[in-house]
Amino acid sequence: MTDMLNEVQDIINIPSTTLRILLAHFNWDKELLLERYYEYEGNQERIFADAHVISPFRSAEHCKQQTSCSSISCEICCSSHSASFMTGLDCGHIFCKDCWATYLAVKILDEGMSQMISCPAFDCRIIVDDSLVMQLIVDKHILQKYQHLMTNSFVECNSLLKWCPAPDCHHVIKLEYKETQPVKCDCGREFCAECSEPWHDPVKCMHLKKWLKKCDDDSETSNWISANTKECPKCLATIEKVGGCNHMVCRNQSCKHEFCWVCLGPWDPHGASWYNCNRYNAVDARKARDIQERSRQMLQRYLFYCNRYMNHLQSLKFEHKLYARVKRKMDEMQCLNMTWIEVQFLKTAVDILCQCRQTLMYTYVFAFFLERNNQSIIFEENQADCEKATEMLSEYLERDITTASVAEIKQKVQDKYRYCDTRRNVLLKHVHEGYDEDWWEYFE
């Protein structure tokens, strides 16, 4: 932030406090600021007015007016103070320092404002600059909060800066270019630069967001309800059918409506001719059945993908335990005359295993939104291959690792993880190619 300030200040010679407000007004886009500044060459008053600051070329006149009498009454607390205790912005409205401090504290703590705090005088929109805040606020916590809010507004407005999403991590990541890409924070967290979720190749941010929302809400509960229940046609109570008989009597004591489960019509006309319920074939009834059918299918489809997604997520959590076991094994091997560098293959194997699981997990999200076509069949083949290889690696690392001789283990593990990694890359490459070539068609 300071770099940018200095850079612009070299070009335009105005006080840094004013410049900061101007930059904030232009959402920290220095090119835009410079462009406007020179566009209105000679009439820069307007830019200053839009940003709610007093032009630094004009402020000198005001200062002279202020210091005329020795004791002034503050308009906020209504008590008199010596002129030296009164302060204000270049707009000429002055208040006592105590009132200023309380005013700023209320704005910063209660309203969470930093850039946009204006002069406390009525209808005066001149913005308070940071040097005044620094000078008036003594409480360290408030200052800290102020600085935090300032930085936050700077980061939020700058599309090349991202807060690390890890809890309690206060790092900001600077991106080289604006595009979906994985970034790694110094704290170790790897995330997507666009949506701040963990890196989710190959599925797109938009689809991942939709998926996570779907998993979060209870929309699936309602899906279940619509797949397995019907409403009483009279009192609209939701009914789950548990017996075989289609002659329904609503259990709602104030309703007790009798109806047919199949066509939802009243029971009376069915009478003896029930077993070829003529309404069953009516267009309406069929439509209602189709809707139920579709909703049931959607639920099953979701459960299919969700199951596999959750499964990999679960396994991924368990693989972290594997790191501990592998580490023990590596220590053992080092005792058997192997060097540190020689045993690193095991850790690499687990790294690759985790990567594969993560990729596979997100391919199920991708697949959920995917409409079936020729390319999607190839994708599924690739996914199956990768999954098979991953499971084999996982199994080998968990079970067979203790029995065979060291050289044999190394050979096998390396073979397996290299194969896994190849399959994973093939899978990803195919999906990316599909994005470029527009192969993929989506649901909804």
Partner: protein, 198 residues
């Protein structure tokens, strides 16, 4: 209560007593606490509220004057920017446009100005605002009758209103409820009664 807000209120009360005797506004303490005040404004001339005395409830927050006072009408009033039911006020300086340098005196003067100059496009009471825009005559009639009925505004009372209100009360409805229904339906007795019976 913070010391700034107490000294500020004390000072404001003193100023109002000395400066505002001619301006038809009044503020006093309510059970000796500086958090709870009562105000009074007189309806300005050339408005349907002319001469009516409107009582206000003023609550001073802990953080006054850095946050605005909470003001509402205690006297019922028919006005697009004031709720005819609760007396809540829609006025920018009582919300986001509040500035620490404003005072209770300026708030009351602004309210008086609001009575002379309603803003039906930013309404608090949608029913009143619609009547204001669609049937100005009925609005003026209602606002004047309310001012006379609740705020003791002087002048001859509209006979039509009195009669209709009397008819509704004779049917067994409470006076306030009847007046509200009649006002809402622009003094159409039939629809008002229909609304009341439903």
């Amino acid at each position: 209560m913070s010391s700034i807000s107490v000294t500020r209120i004390q000072r404001e009360l003193k100023d109002i007593k000395s400066e505002c005797s001619g301006q038809n506004i009044k503020i006093e303490l309510y059970n000796d606490e500086y958090t709870n005040l009562r105000g009074e404004i007189v309806g300005p001339p050339e408005t349907p509220y002319h001469g009516g005395v409107f009582k206000l409830i003023i609550k001073i927050p802990e953080s006054y004057p850095f946050n605005p006072p909470k003001v509402s009408f205690e006297t019922k009033i028919w006005h697009p920017n004031i709720s005819s039911v609760t007396g809540a006020i829609c006025l920018d300086i009582l919300k986001d446009q509040w500035a620490a340098a404003l005072t209770l005196r300026t708030v009351l003067l602004s309210l008086q100005a609001l009575l002379s100059d309603a803003e039906p496009d930013d309404p608090q009471d949608a029913v009143v605002a619609r009547q204001f825009k669609e049937n100005k005559r009925a609005f003026l009639k209602t606002a004047k009758f309310w001012a006379q009925h609740y705020a003791h505004a002087p002048g001859p009372v509209d006979k039509d209103c009195v009669e209709k209100l009397k008819k509704a009360t004779e049917m067994g409805f409470f006076k306030d409820v009847s007046l509200e229904a009649l006002s809402k339906y622009s003094w159409n007795l039939e629809t008002a009664i229909q609304h009341l019976t439903n």
